[in-house]
């Protein structure tokens, strides 16, 4: 009822807005942040936008991890009526740019000095050709390993720094009757585990060649075989009933002591914190074994809009998204860290501070890499083809050599 009213009111407002020459900044924002913490985070942006004299038209489309929103976006773009800003990320931004529908917000970006505020590889995602076309909201780190602190202490286990150490710890835990690895058998979770293994075993340079550049020699190398071998080993460390389990249920297994470790992005931290657990005391966070940093950056892509009020709204929105206050408040709600590097992190928890420090270090050393499993590195058909192989291997008795052969064929077939 209230939604209907809001819709009617906003439609009326936008009609009024187009009748007048300039009725203040307007923005229609398509996103799928509809669950508790996320909705609260978006509300912060809405409020700031209103305080700066703008009129925000909310267009939340929940469902399917953004699939439903993308379907809505396609319909809007095909009918020539794109929203002002859309929650998009990674190469999908460039894909929409190739369709010729993204706006140029270089004016705001230059005025605000985004070039110096963002790590270079993240700034790269926000640019289309030579111009800026999107604004980053946050940085999720994907290659986290979470652990139950008391289980580790009871069994005399340190956080592993190599996959061999992890395997040794897992054997020990299994002997003690504890599930070593909490995992949910959904394709994207298998892919998340796989990319952290590739990063740990092959190192950042190999990850870049194999899962970002899709270099054939890297894809069929012995290092890739070793990565699949490790996946097979990990398969022995999950419980028999992992198929189809949601990631937050796996997190709960770590929380209540059924399982020792979970490999998952830092949205898992939200689950721990919501249950009143304290980082460093009840649960431990560390990067997955090996070097490097895999990021998953949420951002808003700006679509071409007509009318001064809409363009003004777009510029204001871009400016606010990258504003210090929003970046801080939003990310404290969501468990990620700010994309801009000059936000004070005193109020954040120790895991977030570690994440920010690692991001700065890996950006300097060139090991700040996009997550393939979360759609930051590859186009949809390609990352999907890799995930198909990874999940087929993990959920069957397929040999590593067969998996590598299948991987090469699948990547070639996806172009």
């Amino acid at each position: 009822m209230t939604f209907r009213f809001a819709l009617a009111a906003s439609t009326a407002l936008s009609v009024l807005g187009s009748a007048a020459a300039f009725a203040g900044p307007q923005a229609e924002v398509l996103h799928w942040w509809t669950s508790g913490g996320e909705a609260k985070s978006v509300a912060v942006l809405q409020q700031e936008f209103a305080e700066n004299g703008g009129t925000w038209t909310d267009m939340p489309v929940a469902g399917g991890g953004g699939d439903a929103a993308m379907t809505a976006l396609r319909a809007r773009v095909l009918s020539g009526n794109a929203p002002t800003a859309v929650q998009l990320k990674g190469p999908a931004i460039q894909e929409w740019y190739d369709e010729g529908v993204l706006a140029d917000i270089s004016g705001v970006a230059k005025a605000e000095g985004w070039e110096n505020l963002l790590p270079a590889s993240i700034a790269g995602h926000m640019k289309c050709g030579d111009t800026w076309c999107a604004a980053p909201v946050n940085v999720h780190r994907v290659d986290w390993i979470w652990a139950n602190a008391s289980i580790l202490a009871q069994n005399g286990i340190e956080m592993p720094t190599t996959w061999d150490e992890f395997n040794a710890a897992a054997e020990k835990l299994q002997a003690a009757g504890i599930i070593p690895l909490a995992h949910g058998g959904q394709a994207w979770q298998d892919a998340t585990l796989f990319e952290t293994v590739v990063l740990g075993i092959g190192g950042p340079a190999f990850f870049q060649k194999a899962l970002v550049d899709l270099d054939e020699s890297a894809l069929k190398s012995d290092t890739m075989v070793a990565a699949f071998d490790q996946m097979r080993t990990l398969r022995g460390y999950v419980d028999a009933n992992f198929s189809g389990r949601d990631w937050n249920l796996a997190t709960a297994m770590v929380m209540n002591g059924e399982a020792a470790f979970q490999v998952m992005g830092d949205w898992a931290k939200g689950e721990f914190l919501a249950a009143g657990k304290v980082p460093g005391q009840d649960f431990l966070c560390a990067s997955t074994p090996g070097e490097g940093y895999l990021y998953n950056v949420d951002s808003f892509a700006m679509f071409k809009v007509a009318g001064d009020d809409n363009v003004a709204g777009q510029d204001l929105l871009a400016k606010l998204i990258m504003g210090k206050n929003f970046q801080k408040v939003f990310n404290m709600n969501k468990g990620s860290i700010p994309a801009r590097t000059d936000v004070a992190l005193d109020a954040f928890d120790s895991c977030a501070q570690l994440s920010a420090a690692d991001m700065a270090a890996s950006s300097a050393s060139g090991s700040l890499l996009p997550s393939y499993a979360h759609g930051m590195a590859l186009y949809g058909p390609q990352s999907g083809a890799i995930t198909d192989v990874v999940t087929a291997h993990f959920n069957s008795e397929m040999s590593s050599a067969d998996a590598v052969a299948m991987l090469v064929a699948a990547v070639a077939n996806s172009r």
Partner: protein, 290 residues
């Protein structure tokens, strides 16, 4: 004027729905066929590029699994539902008491949405939660029933849930068929001392051929467009072991931004439907000589 109306009214009344079917069914079939011949990714593009999408489709191991599953699932689902439905119908046909109540109980699953069926069976078949855990709780520690999480067996759990849903409906169809057989003939056979099983196998079942045909067509198209049952029961997993063509098409079109590939898989699905329905229509529509 009235005569003119009399003559043209049926056409005028039928025209809107005819037009709607023409555009929204056949028009979009044509559009999908066109798109399946292009290199469309995120958005449809209209430059014809040949049969590349079909080559990609049949080179994809995931499509192989999905297409193979269609035949495993389709065959088992249709055959088991028909056999079970017929059996139930024959048993119910024995003039038993409280037939109405039993009939409702068996028919009831059809009233549920496939999402509900899938979710309920997901819990029943979950080894840590459902059947396996219960039987183990009774003391049979070695009992194993983990088809749902076993990638070689998971497709059969979809068959189980599908059969559970559809066999009651098939039973109702057959029961109506059994009751419509001329009682005079049956009584005559009984008088002649023919055993009951022969009455069924030689008289009643052969006379129900048209009902078999309708049940077969209804079940087959249910099998081919099965989507929600798989999504709710297994989500296509473990891995992609329970993918069906419909879930493959959805993944390509809506999750991966590979519209050309989705269109190609849709065309193959349509070809399968045509391969089944066209002979049926042909046999139904040909002039009868009796």
């Amino acid at each position: 004027m009235t005569r003119w109306l009399e003559h043209h009214l049926p056409k005028a009344v039928l025209a809107p729905s005819f037009l709607a079917v023409l555009v929204f069914v056949y028009g979009f079939i044509g559009w999908t066929a066109w798109v399946s011949l292009t290199r469309s990714k995120l958005m449809p593009r209209y430059e014809i590029d040949g049969f590349g999408q079909f080559v990609r489709l049949f080179a994809s191991p995931r499509w192989d699994t999905a297409f193979g599953n269609l035949f495993i699932f389709g065959l088992l689902f249709v055959v088991i539902s028909l056999v079970l439905g017929l059996l139930l119908a024959i048993l119910l046909d024995q003039r038993i008491r409280v037939e109405g109540v039993i009939r409702t109980i068996y028919l009831y699953p059809m009233a549920l949405s496939l999402i509900v069926t899938g979710t309920a069976w997901k819990w029943v078949l979950n080894p840590g939660l459902g059947l396996e855990a219960v039987v183990r709780g009774w003391g049979f520690e070695n009992f194993r029933f983990d088809w749902l999480v076993n990638s070689d067996m998971a497709i059969y759990t979809v068959v189980i849930a599908g059969v559970w849903q559809a066999s009651g409906f098939v039973m109702a169809l057959f029961l109506a068929g059994l009751r419509s057989v001329d009682q005079e003939i049956i009584r005559a056979a009984e008088v002649d001392g023919i055993p009951t099983y022969r009455i069924y196998s030689a008289i009643i079942i052969p006379s129900m051929a048209p009902i078999f045909m309708s049940a077969f067509i209804v079940l087959t198209h249910l099998a081919i467009k099965s989507f929600d049952l798989v999504i709710a029961l297994t989500g296509g997993g473990p891995g992609y072991a329970t993918d069906l063509p419909a879930t493959y098409m959805y993944a390509m079109a809506f999750s991966r931004g590979d519209i050309g590939q989705a269109a190609a898989s849709a065309m193959v699905m349509m070809a399968v439907v045509f391969a089944i329905v066209v002979p049926y229509l042909y046999s139904e529509l040909r002039p009868r000589h009796d």
